[in-house]
């Protein structure tokens, strides 16, 4: 046996773990194939697909340029307002929760309980909150705002904690040497570091909330979702096309703008 053969046998034997992984994945995959079924796909389906495409290409222009409260511009503004206000309220509520869930500030048991609570809040679908808040405020965009603020809290407070833990604390030492009080240290040492990063996080969440806000209309919590589902149920495809076009445009524009602002904030 020469050196080359020896080296060949030294090849790390990872084949077993590869095979196992692929085996488990395939079993899971095969198990889940049952979700695919074509029996419900009737001729009707292809016809509707065609109709939606036609609707997208021939949107109801009168709806797009309708400036009354039933028109698309107003509905989009309402959706944005829900997302915006929801983000702001959520961003404010997340601040105390972030401090409560930071295990290096709070006692361990409290931090743990708050974290658990945040996971629960995060997991419950927005639609459920929407329905619950409708009982509080009645149907309309107000319920949407409350829903958005509640769903934002989980992610925001988690990201806040990450930022707070990453702070550069060396500047505090030099401010101590200048003779600053604790409050001054927070205002001029910590605050300037936080603002840009926190703002960037909040803008990111606004982007997400805007997408979620479009869905809230399905349960009657305001925004553009409700007219969309009405139009679909009534098979008014040109209206559907108009709404979808407006929605796509809005989300693309907001995403572009928010990305630009965030790079500007973080890189300076």
């Amino acid at each position: 046996m020469n050196a080359i053969d020896k080296q060949l046998q030294l090849q790390p034997n990872r084949r077993m773990s590869y095979i196992m992984t692929i085996f488990i994945l395939s079993i899971l995959f095969v198990w889940s194939v049952s979700t695919i079924h074509f029996e419900n796909v009737s001729l009707n389906g292809t016809k509707i697909a065609k109709n939606i495409l036609v609707g997208l290409l021939n949107p109801d222009w009168s709806l797009i340029f309708n400036v009354s409260t039933g028109g698309i511009p107003y509905l989009l503004i309402e959706t944005m307002a829900i997302a915006f206000l929801g983000t702001i309220v959520g961003a404010l509520l997340a601040i105390p929760l972030a401090f409560l869930s930071a295990s290096n500030i709070m006692p361990k048991p409290i931090a743990f309980v708050v974290r658990l609570l945040l996971i629960i809040i995060r997991t419950i679908p927005a639609i459920v909150y929407g329905l619950m808040f409708i009982r509080v405020t009645g149907p309309g965009p107000f319920a949407g705002v409350l829903t958005m603020s509640l769903t934002s809290i989980g992610m925001l407070s988690k990201l806040y904690v990450d930022v707070i833990e990453d702070l550069d604390k060396s500047v505090l030492e030099s401010m101590e040497a200048i003779g600053c009080t604790l409050m001054e240290k927070i205002r001029f040492g910590i605050w300037p570091q936080l603002t840009a990063l926190l703002l960037s996080i909040v803008i990111y969440r606004f982007d997400m909330n805007l997408r979620d806000a479009t869905v809230l209309g399905l349960v009657g919590a305001g925004g553009i979702g409700a007219p969309l589902i009405f139009a679909m149920n009534a098979y008014k495809w040109s209206e559907v096309g108009a709404i979808l076009l407006g929605l796509i445009l809005l989300i693309l524009v907001v995403e572009f703008v928010s990305n630009r602002i965030r790079t500007k904030l973080v890189r300076g």
């Binding site: 604390k169 200048i178 003779g179 009080t181 300076g268």
Partner: protein, 266 residues
């Protein structure tokens, strides 16, 4: 005038960082403290503005007993003593000018402090300080876009704006390249001569210390083993200061571990 009388500093873990320090530094001196890392240089410096508390003896700055000061008194003392750090310790996300303006913060009325509004007079003072260290043109640039040498100058300007009578510098050139280090040392020398400020500097580079300082203090194992003019230092004295005494190495780690505790927010 800074006066150490039998100063002793013992860390909570029992490590004796300073032992029987007797020292007098007159106004407008340029003092370099040299010695091995862990010898107690940094502790010696930080006792002067009470960043560290001493555990024995007495220490006075301009006839004020530092040991007696509390809260407001400490802050008033520190207003008069500037401090420069190895890692610059700037807020990197904001502009150079804003970093310099921080030195006015303790003297501002409450509402301006909260809103972060500075008067034109304060801005002019800050700009003058920047001009003195030669980076006036960078006033509105964000600090994270500057080089290390420029950042250390921002820190120096911040200290100058404070208009102190003493500047303490803890390894100010250790993270700079040799050329920039020289420039920063030049700045120190100029400030020392122009404004009659006392400058006390901790430094690793012996050549720089000898070239710029007027007085050199050698620290070894928490004790002063040399104190004299820079021109008196020769090979023999240096090897005495830097002579690595046995059994010291283990203790160095204990002390380095103790320092961060003191540097927290509070």
């Amino acid at each position: 005038m800074i006066e150490f009388r039998e100063v002793e500093k013992r860390y909570p873990n029992g490590f004796l960082a300073l032992n029987q320090i007797n020292l007098q530094i007159e106004q407008a001196e340029f003092v370099a403290i040299i010695g091995l890392s862990g010898a107690g240089k940094s502790t010696l410096l930080r006792c002067i503005n009470k960043m560290h508390d001493i555990t024995g003896g007495s220490l006075s700055v301009d006839s004020v007993d530092v040991q007696q000061l509390k809260g407001k008194g400490i802050r008033k003392l520190r207003r008069n003593i500037g401090m420069i750090f190895q890692s610059f310790n700037l807020v990197t996300r904001v502009s150079v000018l804003k970093n310099v303006l921080v030195s006015f913060v303790p003297n501002m009325p409450f509402w301006r402090k909260m809103l972060g509004i500075f008067t034109k007079e304060e801005k002019l003072k800050a700009l003058m300080a920047l001009d003195q260290v030669g980076i006036l043109d960078k006033a509105y640039v964000r600090v994270d876009q500057l080089s290390g040498g420029q950042q250390q100058r921002v820190a120096l300007a911040r200290t100058l704006a404070q208009n102190p009578s003493i500047i303490l510098a803890d390894e100010p050139v250790a993270s700079l390249d040799p050329v920039t280090a020289k420039q920063v040392m030049e700045d120190f020398k100029r400030i020392n001569q122009e404004f009659n400020m006392t400058i006390i500097i901790n430094i690793h580079h012996v050549e720089l210390a000898l070239a710029y300082a007027t007085r050199v203090i050698g620290v070894r194992s928490g004790e002063i083993v040399f104190d004299g003019r820079a021109c008196e230092v020769d090979e023999e004295i240096l090897s005495y200061i830097y002579n690595n005494s046995e059994g010291r190495g283990a203790n160095n780690h204990a002390m380095e571990a103790a320092i961060p505790e003191k540097n927290g927010i509070a």
